[in-house]
Subunit: 194 residues, 2 copies
DNA sequence: AGAATTAGGGACCAATCGGTCAACAAACGG
DNA sequence: CCGTTTGTTGACCGATTGGTCCCTAATTCT
């Protein structure tokens, strides 16, 4: 019907995602994005309405890749006991501290802080991701030796608690805490689950 | 010796702090700051080197007021058992969710996310505040019936865990969680301490 | 091959950005 | 009461911002 797009949208979004992840929304200029995505201004605006739309698409991409991976990790029984899968996710978050110069943390967490309050679309997307993560934590808990027997209410509270703990760790990563310091946090968090 | 300053620096910083708190660093323009501080451009630049210096001063002001209040709350024995003081701080954080339209969360947490990675001065300030908060948590734990007997290592890990939980709650507030939802998180967090 | 449609590229735009400056005002020391 | 010093003010600046537009290129349909 017409000239086909020359670049891959998801690949371009991966690059845009990396920019927003590192610099935040306001901190990322169009020039930054174009440079990272490797396309020209006109092409970008053919594919996306405006900067805001790029951000939302990048956030959605984050959902489909990173959050999805976390959810799979938590839900997949082959990862061992539910508690071990939870430990695995928290340790993966901790490993972000390895990027000592510019730890990226977690884009969902970053978006919650710098866009969710004044941008309803971002807030909705962040809340949806959080819900997905909470549910996955709940599944892992239901698969764990210690929490399996808990009443539903306590398990869902614990799941939300874990989601909060996860965000807290990501903030600490971003603040520059070392992996060693975070190990203590993880140990205390898991201890909380019995 | 010369003309005295007409505005109060700390009061102006309180107003600047509110702007950065709500909008972040990049999201706050000089116009926003001047408007909130109620002074003219030239006066601002006589008092501060540049925007970055204003931000650092506002962050320091946050330290001297808000963080200080949190630290006092945790350390002050008149607040009851250490665990009750910890509960008090977490509930104060939860109450931030009451600002339903534009929850501010916590400036220290916001700064960790949007400035700490690429601004060494901000990172240092954030880490200093976190350390102060951790220590205060440790004091409260040492004053609690259940954690008093714990070995030092476990208590300091728990203190860092609480600092992380506190940040996590602030992120959830910022994301738009309701006070009711956060109550479950707080309950689970305190349960973790026995 | 020509018409139709959409992508690519980059010059261009108004608005806003953070920051400077020069003229004026208010205080103190002599 | 004048000189020195510093705060106040707003006009002004170059640079950068996000976004538009137009010309060209590539593809499909007839």
């Amino acid at each position: 019907m017409a000239r086909p797009r020359e670049f891959d949208i998801d690949q371009a979004l991966d690059n845009a995602m990396a920019v927003f992840w590192a610099k935040g929304y306001e901190g990322s200029s169009l020039a930054d994005l174009l440079d990272a995505m490797g396309i020209a201004r006109g092409s970008l605006y053919k594919a996306f309405k405006d900067k805001h739309a790029i951000y939302l698409a990048a956030l959605d991409r984050y959902d489909r890749t990173m959050v999805e991976a976390a959810v799979v990790l938590l839900r997949e029984p082959s990862g061992g006991d539910g508690l071990e899968r939870i430990r695995g996710l928290l340790e993966a978050a901790r490993d972000g501290a390895g990027e000592r110069q510019h730890p990226r943390g977690c884009l969902m967490c970053n978006a919650a802080i710098d866009r969710a309050t004044d941008d309803p679309a971002v807030r909705a997307q962040v809340l949806a991701m959080m819900k997905r993560l909470e549910d996955a934590f709940a599944v892992a808990l239901a698969d764990s030796a210690t929490a399996r027997a808990w009443p539903n209410k306590r398990r869902s509270e614990a799941a939300r608690f874990l989601a909060g703990a996860y965000l807290g760790i990501q903030v600490l990563v971003r603040a520059g805490y070392s992996a060693d310091e975070l190990d203590g946090v993880i140990a205390a968090t898991l201890q909380a689950l019995g």
